[in-house]
Amino acid sequence: MKRLCILLFVSCAGFVSAADVSYHREVWPIFKRHCVGCHSAQKSKGGLRLDNVAAVQKGGETGPLFVSGKPDQSLLIKQIIGDEPEMPVKEAPLSSAKVALLRDWIAQGAKFDAPPASTAAAVVIPAVYAFAPAITSVALSPDGKIAVAACRSEVILISVDDTNATPRRLSTESDLITHVEFSPDGLRLAVSGGSPQRFGAVTFFKMPEGKLEHTRRHGKDTFFRGGFAPDGKAIALGGADGAAHIVPVDAAAKINSIDLHSDWVLDVTYTPDGKQLVTGGRDKATKVSSVDTLRLLRMVDQSTDIISAVASDALAAISGGHARTLTGYDYKVALAGVEVGGSGNGAVPVNRRDQYVRAFEAQADVVLDMATSGDRKWLAVATRQPEIRIYQMSDRQRKSAISKVPAPINAVALDNNGTRLALGSRDGQVQIYEVAGGKLLRSLVPVPVTPVNTVAK
């Protein structure tokens, strides 16, 4: 039987070598299956990338990958043959058929044929959804008259007061929108997100017209949440690379990044004076940085679990997350001395955590989102529980709550003075409330949905 297998392989290889080996149809699948885990943009071990043709032609630190026409002299072949081949690491050696194919490709001159039409999944926005899409982010215009909801790849503009107006749908090139927000003057809408593991993107729309201004792509994964600068000239967004990215609304201006965290930055907010950024993320840390110097001022806290949202008024940073806590950090005490000593690099803070922590009441469940009013007086907090709590930031006391909301709530937003609140639920509902008295102003699923089995009938 063994002998028969070998015969088969030889005959297979024979078939293949009769025709030209196609790079895209035959070689690339081998690279993809066995190599690009370590040799790609994300992780170019040995300086080698195999995820695009130019990089394959260039080779890695130890030189070019192949000598055209000479498989035996080619590094690629040397690495994958022998009793214990160097590559692939921690995996069974390539089958003799695959090695033969790579040899043939090099022997035939290592030619790169025309790539087939892209199969990368394009953004698809259904006219009618089969399942109500989860609301991933909501925003309220400063005057509270327009609510914006993000579902997957599109945003919907909803008039709060005119219930007859058809919600307007704006599409984006992001697979997953993670954050929508009005600029402080209400004249611009930022829609950020991107495609997981591919790119981050921010799209700006002119408001109230909803006219596309421009889209900017950045990085290799989606942006997470963030917040506009008080002057409206930039929006700071969390990145999967552990950095906070300051994306200017001016398409020509440079994006500045502060590399701060060891894992995803899930939320960023500016202090009201626009001088500092508060960040929190999957590494469980809450940090305060300087916008001017793009440097860390102080890591103010290390939670026991993920920090999902941050907020700030003039006096304190606030962070909340999966540890079911909401904690304030008094700037004056926490940052005392740190800038003098050299912005955190080596400087020893004057005060300890227990001297600057300003705790809120315990939260009933995992904190999923927080929103501050434009005047930074009010803080709305959504957990997994069907209740939104609203706190007065100055004294950290709960002033009101909206209950019986369709939990879990993915996103909350407040208008400029905290009179109206918008929320978006995982099951696809958008609701707008009057905070005082908790009156429900609107409740809707903002996109057309027809369940599959209804379609079948």
Partner: protein, 814 residues
């Protein structure tokens, strides 16, 4: 892709044509003979078996040509899987090797296709792809921010992680192919774990379809998986044969699914066979292996035996006088292996002495035994040794190891008291069930109840439950403390169920022994509550191994119930694990090996033997001496270490003795006896032998070098029985042997005093060193050796004796 497919088909047809059609002696069998299909996209495999003239099972599945009485209802694809088309009843007819088989198929498709189930369809995809392995996303911290439950143990935790976390970034219900859950494992996006799904594979299509159906959770009334079986359960294959296995899952509603393509296969002995990821096993060598298949959390194991072509093997008559021989010879006949003959008297006596009393026989014992003409002299020798005081030393040492009696954890008086308690039990032949119960329920100070030293040695309830299951049930539970056990269906509920039996115990310093290190008293808090299962956060009621939860009253010592359950005659673990462990003390391995890692995926090499041995042990009322007697009186124990042509490859079925190194204490005590020069153990009472030492905390480089148990763990592996270079160097260059053979009171000097003739001296040196007389060849060599030394007889005797003690014949039992 398009132009590769014809190649594959070509290859398949070539394989089919080239494979010679075997001659089948009897009828073919097909599994299943009838089946019901209730789901459209869930085909069922067919395994067709025959038997050739040489008695090998032959898998004809790939050679069978199938026709369906109606392709409009069900058809068989090129790989031999039955696919449902529409509801109805058909007969499939298969032809192979000139014979015919039939399968009746009933297709009952529901009017509306059932949606895919997260638990029954998607979770197996994650397991099959290896996504939730310990090295990948099943790691306790996840990988790259994506954490799944280890080996799919907790679907309820995995569901939100996949469908909800980080704003549903991992799936896209509205554009399913764009889901990270597909792009990453397909390799369309860089994935450190590599490509896990092939495009178009069942894993790919299942995940895609489930997302497209809305990535829904299961209803609370979902059926549960009840059992998993593998077919065929036993295969006797020819060399280089291939066998397709079939894995079937049975659910709580009585339905059965063919889950072969989603099962995870492993071969226990890779020398014998390899298995691919769809359960096709290829025989690669002679012998026997288990083929383990895992589906969801349940394991099923098949026995795969590869026998040579018929070589004219004549089965040996199966002895009926000894249960050990009966089952071992039956198995050897199945494997077409002959057993080696019984070893000669001298080697037998040495093996028996070392195994039973931990020291070689002395020359007069050897000579008397050889001279004895009684036909039952071996059985009589066994009886004599069972009554020797060294027998008590030796087995107290073994139990002292397992029970971890040591000053590491127990006070000096406590260690001696517990040692005496064990010795009294061995001397009185206390039934092993009673022995275990008294230990597992002991309380108080060691001065009052020496057996309490066992609990006093536990750090906490975790330690007690792990030690008790490992020592008295042969089961390792540690894994299940933090996650489901990777090789057995133990969960945290099982672990904390045991924990609840032991958590009433605490220790405090013994007030009567102030200032004495490790002097502790064992207390039982009858009001103590139940342990908390960290997975559920709920109190976990006491639960026996195997799942039953007893109803226990308030304010009782829960250990009493555990000890009663454990030592009940029908307990599945106790007698079996002890019988297996004791077996390993007389052979190079247990019937299950390692002896304290009993689980479904580590099946016994001879299940009938272990069952019979355990049953006999229960029947004898847990009589340790009777268990030993049964083993050592067997021909199996007494086999020669010289292999035969037909059994040389057998290292597992006890067809011949496989040499074992003497345990540290037996080696040292035998060396002391041979040379007549005692070992001085710092701190131990004078004249204590190595086997009598109460623990390992006496200075002895020799014992440490040869792997004496340090009693730090309740694991049989605490005793290291392997050989290494340092041991050889110590024997050759060290003082252990050299200083003894050259000592003024050493054996050579003593033997030379009466000025014996060379022949007498040679015999005596052999008898003292190796407990046997020299062979003719050895004698001739020895005579030549002594001649060369001339009148330097002392030097000759020392050098010769040194040589004997450095030979493998001294180091090994053979």
């Amino acid at each position: 892709m398009k132009h590769i497919l014809p190649l594959i088909l070509l290859a398949l047809s070539l394989t089919a044509q080239a494979q010679s059609v075997p001659v089948i002696a009897g009828n073919l069998t097909v599994s299943p003979a009838s089946l019901t299909l209730t789901r459209q996209h869930e085909p069922h495999s067919l395994v067709v078996m025959g038997r050739d003239a040489a008695g090998h099972d032959v898998d004809l599945s790939r050679l069978t040509k199938w026709t369906s009485s109606s392709d409009a209802i069900a058809r068989v694809d090129a790989l031999g899987w039955v696919n449902a088309v529409t509801s109805g009843q058909v007969t499939l007819t298969g032809q192979a090797a000139g014979k015919t088989v039939q399968v009746s198929v009933s297709v009952k498709l529901p009017p509306v296709a059932q949606p895919l189930s997260f638990r029954h369809d998607v979770m197996p995809v994650l397991s099959k792809g290896g996504c939730n392995m310990g090295a990948c996303h099943g790691y306790s911290l996840g990988k790259n921010g994506f954490k799944l439950s280890l080996r799919g143990s907790d679907p309820a935790l995995d569901f939100p992680v996949i469908t909800e976390e980080f704003l549903e970034r991992r799936i896209n219900r509205h554009n399913p192919p764009a889901s990270l859950m597909l792009l990453k494992p397909l390799g369309d996006l860089p994935h450190e774990g590599g490509v896990r799904f092939d495009p178009g594979s069942l894993s790919h299509t299942t995940m895609l379809a489930w997302i497209a159906q809305g990535a829904k959770d299961d209803s609370p009334t979902l059926t549960t998986l009840q059992s998993v079986r593998i077919h065929p359960a036993k295969v006797v294959a020819a060399p280089k044969a291939r066998q397709q296995f079939q894995v079937l899952a049975r659910y709580s509603d009585g339905t059965e699914r063919d889950v072969t393509r989603m099962a995870i296969f492993e071969v226990n002995t890779e020398r014998v066979a390899r298995v691919d990821d769809v359960g096709l096993v290829a025989a690669t060598g002679l012998g026997e292996t288990a083929i383990a298949a895992r589906y969801e959390r349940i394991f099923a194991v098949a026995n795969f035996i590869v026998l040579p072509a018929d070589t004219g093997f004549k089965p040996a008559p199966v002895p009926q006088d000894n249960l050990v021989d009966r089952h071992v010879v039956t198995k050897l006949n199945d494997l077409r292996i002959e057993a080696s003959p019984v070893v000669d008297d001298e080697r037998f006596l040495r093996r028996l002495h070392v195994d039973l009393i931990g020291v070689q026989p002395k020359p007069d014992e050897v000579l008397a035994f050889v001279a004895d003409a009684a036909p039952d002299k071996r059985a009589k020798a066994v009886e004599r040794l069972l009554l020797r005081t060294e027998f008590v030393d030796w087995w107290s040492l073994r139990w002292g190891d397992l029970l971890q009696n040591s000053r590491n954890t127990t006070s000096d008086p406590g260690v001696y008291a517990f040692r005496e308690w064990i010795r009294a039990a061995i001397a009185a032949n206390k039934p092993m069930d009673q022995f275990a119960r008294e230990i597992l329920t002991a309380r108080g100070a060691t001065a009052d109840n020496p057996a309490a030293a066992w609990f006093a040695a536990s750090k906490d309830a975790d330690d007690s439950l792990q030690r008790s299951t490992q020592v008295f049930a042969g089961v390792r539970m540690l894994c299940a403390k933090c996650h489901p056990h990777p090789f057995e269906n133990w969960t945290q509920a099982d672990y904390y169920g045991l924990h609840s039996f032991f958590n009433q115990v605490s220790t405090k310093a013994d007030p009567r022994l102030p200032g004495v290190a490790n002097a502790r008293s064992v207390l039982v808090n009858l009001q103590g509550g139940l342990s908390t299962n960290p997975r559920t956060g709920q109190a976990q009621p006491p639960r026996y191994l195997g799942g039953a939860e007893p109803k226990l009253g308030e304010s009782v010592d829960r250990r009493l119930d555990y000890a009663r359950w454990l030592t009940a005659p029908d307990n599945a673990h106790f007698a079996r694990s002890i019988a297996n462990r004791f077996w390993s003390y007389f052979f190079h391995r247990g019937i299950i090996d390692p002896v304290d890692d009993l689980r479904a995926t580590n099946p016994p090499i001879n299940a009938a033997l272990l069952d019979a041995l355990a049953a006999d042990f229960v029947k004898s009322q847990f009589d340790m001496r009777q268990l030993i007697r049964t083993i050592v009186n067997s021909r199996t124990y007494q086999r020669s270490a010289v292999p035969l042509a037909s059994n040389a490859h057998d290292d597992a079925n006890f067809s011949h003795a496989i040499p074992r190194r003497l345990p540290a204490e037996a080696l040292l005590d035998s060396l002391v006896q041979a040379t007549g020069v005692p070992e001085n153990f710092g701190g131990a009472p004078t004249a204590f032998t190595a086997a009598q030492l109460p623990d390992a905390n006496f200075s002895s480089e020799f014992l440490n070098l040869f792997g004496k148990s340090q009693r730090m763990e309740a694991c049989e592996c605490e005793r290291d029985t392997r050989s290494n270079m340092l041991q050889a160097l110590d024997f050759i260059n060290g003082r252990s042997i050299l200083s003894r053979v050259t000592a003024a009171n050493g054996r050579p000097a003593l033997l030379l005093q009466p000025k014996p003739a060379d022949d007498v001296l040679i015999d005596q040196l052999h008898l003292w060193a190796l407990a046997r007389r020299p062979s003719d060849v050895e004698r001739a060599l020895a005579q030549k050796f002594f001649k060369e030394y001339g009148d330097k007889r002392a030097e000759a005797a020392q050098d010769f004796f040194w040589g004997l003690l450095n030979s493998r014949d001294f180091m090994l039992l053979y």
